[in-house]
């Protein structure tokens, strides 16, 4: 057994410095029980009033089968499903993978890399609507900053980004990645910081450096975190309304809509609220398996402790 394997085998608990559960698991009694319940009640109330009820109401609104025949026959619905799959599939995975790689870059101990990190997380702190509007003007065609720079620096006549379905969809994806990559880079940076130095030292003895270190040491250790984050991000991204609404506006001719914006359009522009809810709820066959895997993952990591 190589030294790396030894260290890896030794430490499924390596990221946690000892569980703190004290041996005698007392039952709560008397005033403690009252207090514990009192502490939980505010959240339980919020959860029931503002999570359970709206979700139940949404399911009820979307339960009429006739809504789905109306959806499928709608000209916009199927292209929207394709757009959503591309937006989420490409956006989330490219973002996560780049974030994982970049978190390694930001582990380097140089003063300028630390300073750069402060600038790099700026998109995360920048309000989404305003950032997306800025992107919209940057990509507005030959008058935008991007095409202006392309012409000035390389002499290329840039395209009209929002006049073409795939270019507009691509723009949405790039803006989405710009906005959300820093947050996940921070999460992965946190994950990498919990990997003890010894493992890398041991791996180095076995000749795992550079690319091989990433594939055989870092990635296996980060795999669970990576999966959990990717699933959570997929759920959040399926609901991303602002990016598409502000950057391409769903255009040209509604060809870059995603489910969130299409549902909004049905409900508020076309005054068909039930159809709008049905449109977004048609994502449930994707949402539920993701949520189940996510909860399992979070649960098993609880158990490991």
């Amino acid at each position: 057994m190589s030294s790396t394997q030894q260290v890896l085998a030794a430490g499924p608990r390596l990221s946690v410095k000892g569980p703190r559960r004290s041996p005698g698991h007392r039952r709560l009694r008397g005033s403690d029980l009252t207090w514990a319940i009192a502490f939980v009640v505010p959240y339980a109330a919020v959860f029931c009033a503002f999570a359970v009820l709206p979700i139940g109401y949404a399911l009820w609104m979307a339960s009429q089968p006739s809504l789905y025949t109306e959806l499928v026959t709608d000209r916009l619905y199927l292209p929207t499903v394709v757009n959503t799959l591309l937006f989420v599939g490409l956006g989330v995975n490219v973002k996560m993978f780049l974030a994982l790689l970049l978190s390694g870059f930001f582990m380097r101990r140089r003063w300028w890399i630390r300073a750069l990190l402060a600038v790099y997380i700026l998109p995360w702190a920048l309000a989404a609507t305003q950032a997306c509007i800025s992107f919209h003007w940057m990509l507005i065609g030959e008058q935008g900053l991007v095409d202006g720079l392309l012409l000035a620096l390389f002499g290329i006549d840039g395209p009209l980004w929002f006049n073409h379905r795939w270019l507009a969809l691509g723009s949405n994806i790039v803006v989405y990645i710009w906005k959300w990559m820093p947050f996940w880079t921070l999460v992965f940076l946190a994950g990498r910081m919990t990997i003890p130095r010894d493992i890398y030292d041991a791996a180095e003895v076995d000749g795992a450096i550079g690319y091989r270190r990433f594939v055989h040491v870092t990635f296996p250790l980060m795999a669970n975190l990576y999966l959990v984050c990717t699933l959570l991000s997929t759920l959040w991204t399926l609901g991303d309304f602002t990016t598409v609404h502000m950057v391409s506006g769903g255009g040209p001719a509604g060809s870059t809509q995603v489910l969130a914006t299409l549902g909004f359009q049905y409900a508020f522009d076309n005054a068909k609220p039930a159809l709008g809810v049905a449109a977004v709820m048609s994502a449930l066959p994707v949402l539920i398996p993701i949520a189940i895997v996510l909860m399992r993952r979070l649960q098993t990591s609880e158990v490991q402790l």
Binding site: L28, F39, A125, A127, W137, F241, L259, A291, L298
Partner: protein, 295 residues
């Protein structure tokens, strides 16, 4: 690693070359990241500093030829079209953002304290159920929310938006706080118990102070969630109670809006979360090693 050794032995030349190459490529990567992160911010400044009202065009100048603060002036004095009510709307945004932040930290920390520190039996059921909130993304629930808020008598009320934001921020807050709480030894609680401390005392004197980094992360997260929101504010509030975020977003329909002032307003709007992040950066950095979602 000793540099002297690298110089003295010829077989280390390869190693040196590799180091130089690594350094050069990381500087290149750093430059790319710098431009990538700052380009939209730069574009905002470029438009905001342009003296001409509707100007969003890039005229080939990397710096506005006649930079002017007219745009900012128009925002501050509320003179520009669409911005007549800017400070009132900005105040609404602050109100929603701050209350979302405070309530998320308060409700989330109370619940996760009860579940993870007081070991409320079946308490983990609640925290798991909390994640159930994320099964359906927030924006998918806007129609039911609109109707339910009407039912609760909260239509066109800032509290409707706050309730929605707290609902969607708290599950993540609880997750982060539970992960971080594992770093606090139970022995501390037990010792305080022996001294006769009550549950409230434990929460206030031990849990909250030791959890500061996690609370800071949660606070930033909650404020950003409220600050990023467009949809809920646009749908749940009427023009009378509008927020700054929505006014700027809605302008999409009007390409002739005074864009220099609009962008100046956008720049003012994006500052508070950045200031908060900067103020709390010490705690946020301290929470980093513990904040892994891996458990």
């Amino acid at each position: 690693m000793s540099i002297v050794m690298a110089f003295s032995r010829p077989e280390h030349r390869n190693y040196r070359l590799r180091r130089v190459l690594t350094e050069a490529s990381s500087i290149m990567l750093g430059l790319v990241l710098l431009i990538w992160s700052l380009l939209p911010v730069y574009n905002m400044l470029l438009i905001a500093l342009d003296p001409e009202e509707g100007e969003v065009e890039f005229s080939g100048n990397l710096y506005p030829p006649e930079p002017s603060l007219e745009g900012f002036g128009a925002v501050v004095m509320q003179e520009a079209r669409y911005l007549e009510d800017f400070w009132h709307q900005f105040g609404n945004s602050i109100y929603i953002g701050l209350l979302t932040m405070v309530l998320t930290v308060l409700i989330g920390s109370l619940a996760s304290f009860a579940v993870s520190r007081m070991r409320l039996s079946k308490g983990s059921l609640l925290t798991n159920a909390a994640l159930f909130t994320y099964v359906i993304p927030a924006s998918f629930l806007i129609v039911p929310y609109y109707r339910i808020m009407h039912l609760y008598g909260l239509s066109d009320n800032l509290w409707a938006v706050i309730a929605a934001q707290v609902t969607f921020a708290t599950p993540f807050a609880i997750l982060i706080m539970q992960l971080y709480a594992r770093l606090i030894p139970f022995e501390l609680d037990d010792a305080a118990r022996v001294d006769g401390a009550s549950a409230v005392h434990l929460y206030l004197r031990i849990y909250l102070p030791l959890m500061t980094p996690a609370l800071a992360v949660v606070a930033v997260y909650a404020l950003l969630l409220a600050w990023n929101d467009y949809l809920y504010q646009a749908v749940l509030l009427s023009p009378r109670n509008m927020t700054a975020s929505v006014t700027q977003g809605q302008l999409f329909v009007d390409a002739d809006a005074p864009w220099n002032a609009m962008m100046a307003a956008a720049i003012i709007y994006v500052l508070p979360p950045i200031a908060l992040l900067f103020a709390l950066r010490r705690y946020v950095v301290a929470a980093l090693p513990a904040g892994d979602v891996k458990g």
